[in-house]
């Protein structure tokens, strides 16, 4: 069946614009807009206006504790934030957590994906087990980890025979936070990698085996290169998520012991200190950082992604 493909329909539409839309094309347009409208509206209410509003607020001096002392200050809030070492420290914290967790998740995710893909029995069990961390409420998981590592109530100290007070020191707090994050989100990563596995044609691996390649060689030279697009997608999404980490840190340390990160900073400024102006500036900066990450990824590896994705509709 040729014809009536989206591409042809698009071309029809363009032609018609010159002479005036045909009734069919017009009604198709209208229907399309109408069907999308509700979803788009909902998405915009919560994002378009708040973003615009946030940007506007970020350029004001607006502290809810002194509501009368409002005023437009241009980029002052931004220079205040960027000039504040707190911001930079938090940015570094965030980056550290981000890089370390994603790295661990990549390796662990691979292993899990491998098990899900090739297990010779119990696949349903494995899949269910792996999805539990995905489904669990993040704060619930964070509590579990917090209690486990608590010197008084937890079992870890007993297990490792140590007296470590995990949440009073910076490095140990980091460790637990990263462990909790990794535990919770690796499943998602492993699912994306699992999808990537299906991209590797069995024949290619068999051929490599017949050619005499060892398991690790096969992995490095055949499987991983063929999975690259899926790996990139997985890493991109997880990186952006990791940058925005909030729940676990909030529950475990509330940002103390030098584990404060940018999201916590934003929250504190906005909700705890009620400084809408500064807090909005922090928020906007966080958004900009995420955009930069996405940009770097897409530019750096973008050609691969679109190649592999093939035809978009």
């Amino acid at each position: 069946m040729t014809a009536a493909t989206p591409a042809a329909a698009a071309a029809t539409r363009e032609a018609m614009t010159k002479k005036g839309l045909s009734a069919r094309a017009r009604s198709e347009r209208k229907l399309g807009w109408m069907l999308c409208a509700p979803a788009v509206t909902v998405m915009l209410i919560v994002t378009a206006y708040p973003i615009a509003y946030a940007v506007w607020l970020s350029m004001q001096r607006y502290d809810l504790r002194f509501p009368d002392d409002r005023g437009f200050v241009g980029f002052d809030n931004y220079s205040a934030v960027l000039g504040n070492s707190l911001w930079w420290r938090d940015l570094i914290n965030t980056s550290v957590i981000m890089v370390v967790s994603v790295a661990i998740e990549l390796v662990l995710g691979f292993a899990l994906a491998f098990v899900m893909h090739r297990a010779i029995f119990g696949r349903g069990l494995v899949r269910s087990a792996i999805l539990v961390p995905y489904g669990i409420i993040t704060v619930v998981a964070a509590f579990a980890w917090r209690f486990a590592f608590s010197p008084t109530e937890g079992f870890v100290n007993g297990l490792l025979n140590t007296d470590q007070s995990w949440f009073t020191e910076s490095w140990s707090s980091y460790l637990v936070i990263i462990l909790a994050e990794v535990w919770k989100t690796t499943p998602f990563m492993s699912l994306l990698l699992l999808a990537g596995f299906t991209l590797v044609p069995d024949d290619a691996v068999k051929a490599a085996r017949v050619d005499g390649a060892s398991a690790s060689y096969r992995l490095r030279k055949v499987i991983i290169p063929l999975m690259k697009p899926a790996i990139l997608v997985a890493v991109l999404f997880r990186t952006m998520d990791a940058f925005r980490i909030f729940d676990s840190v909030f529950v475990m340390t509330r940002g103390a012991q030098g584990t404060e990160n940018v999201s916590i900073l934003g929250y504190k400024t906005l909700v705890s200190r009620l400084n809408l102006g500064l807090g909005s500036a922090v928020s906007v900066l966080i958004f900009v950082c995420v955009l930069i990450i996405a940009f770097v990824f897409v530019k750096g590896f973008g050609t691969n992604l679109s190649q592999q994705r093939g035809e978009a509709p």
Binding site: A4, A9, R29, L31, G32, W33, L35, C36, P38, A39, V40, V42, I45, V46, T47, P50, I51, A54, L57, R118, A119, I120, G122, A129, I130, G135, I136, I137, V140, F143, F147, T152, E153, G154, F155, F188, L191, L192, L194, A195, V205, K206, R209, V210, A215, A230, V233, M240, F250, V251, Y267, L270, L276, S280, S283, F287, V290, R309, G310, P313
Partner: protein, 285 residues
């Protein structure tokens, strides 16, 4: 199946058995830990072992300490359930319409919608907490069910639309055409032919949306202040202990277990759907 082209040996079985055990252990140890905590009586906390010596249900049903006796927790449960269900139903409906339009129809702005949805999925939610807080206060949506339902829908619509598009794309275009030639209006074609075939996709999206809504903490804490709308994740962090000096570990653990059981059950029953929903989009783009 083992590596392609090889036979399954006894050694393989042992290898996989161990592997599977390790995976399951990895996934479930924190959960078991919570269960254990929830069964630990208050005076045993601080013991340092994994399992309590005298397991008890006092954290669940005890008159002073049980979460079900508390006024916060049952209210929070109700809120979570109601809000998550409503958000799920609405999000799936809206996403179905949008995904159908995107895959089947042609109209200007189509790509913008997809790109925009993607952008929203990547958006740092913390960035809009402030303005949303203000907006909701002005619109009297603060501390209400709709006040949470709407942002939940916003952030789950991208994933739902993405998943549903992948499913719709699998349905042959010819079926639409055949239905229209057979005499169906576009809406009839959708209702009688496409929707039944897309049902699995809608179901999968529903599960993914529900998990998000059930899970959310940020909006729940920032946009609520009382039991009226506070959901479980937020409520847990506000638990007070039986006295000013004890931290309500047991109660928090009990609440956590109660709130995790439905998830585990859901995952057990629907694991196949969830995996296919999350991976189909990735593979087919």
């Amino acid at each position: 199946m083992a590596a392609p082209g090889s036979k399954v040996t006894g050694k393989d079985r042992v290898f996989w058995g161990v592997g599977i055990f390790m995976v399951v252990a990895y996934a479930l140890i924190p959960v078991l830990w919570l269960v254990s905590l929830s069964l630990t009586p208050a005076d045993e906390l601080g013991g340092g072992g994994f399992w309590p010596d005298n397991p008890t249900l006092e954290n669940y049903t005890g008159s002073e300490t049980g979460v079900f006796q508390d006024d916060q927790f049952p209210a929070a449960l109700k809120n979570s359930l109601g809000i998550a269900l409503i958000a799920t139903v609405l999000a799936v409906i809206l996403a179905t319409f949008a995904a159908y339009a995107i895959v089947r129809l042609d109209f200007p702005g189509k790509n913008l919608v997809m790109a925009g949805a993607l952008a929203i999925a990547m958006f740092p939610q913390v960035s809009i907490i402030g303005p949303l807080f203000n907006m909701w206060r002005d619109l009297k949506l603060f501390d209400t069910w709709p006040g949470l339902i709407i942002p939940y829908m916003t952030f789950t619509l991208p994933l739902a639309i993405w998943t549903l598009s992948a499913f719709f794309r699998e349905i042959p275009w010819d079926l639409d055409k055949a239905a229209r030639i057979d005499g169906a209006t576009p809406f009839q074609a959708f209702r009688k032919v496409i929707a039944p075939l897309a049902a699995p996709g809608m179901f999968t999206s529903a599960i993914l949306v529900f998990i998000f809504a059930w899970n959310d903490f940020l909006f729940a804490t920032s946009l609520t202040s009382t039991n009226r709308a506070r959901t479980v994740p937020a409520a847990i962090t506000f638990f007070t202990g039986s006295s000013q000096f004890t931290f309500p570990t047991g109660q928090i653990a009990a609440a956590s277990v109660v709130v995790t059981i439905p998830i585990i059950v859901m995952v057990l029953i629907f694991q196949r759907r969830i995996v296919s929903g999350l991976t189909s989009g990735a593979v087919k783009g």
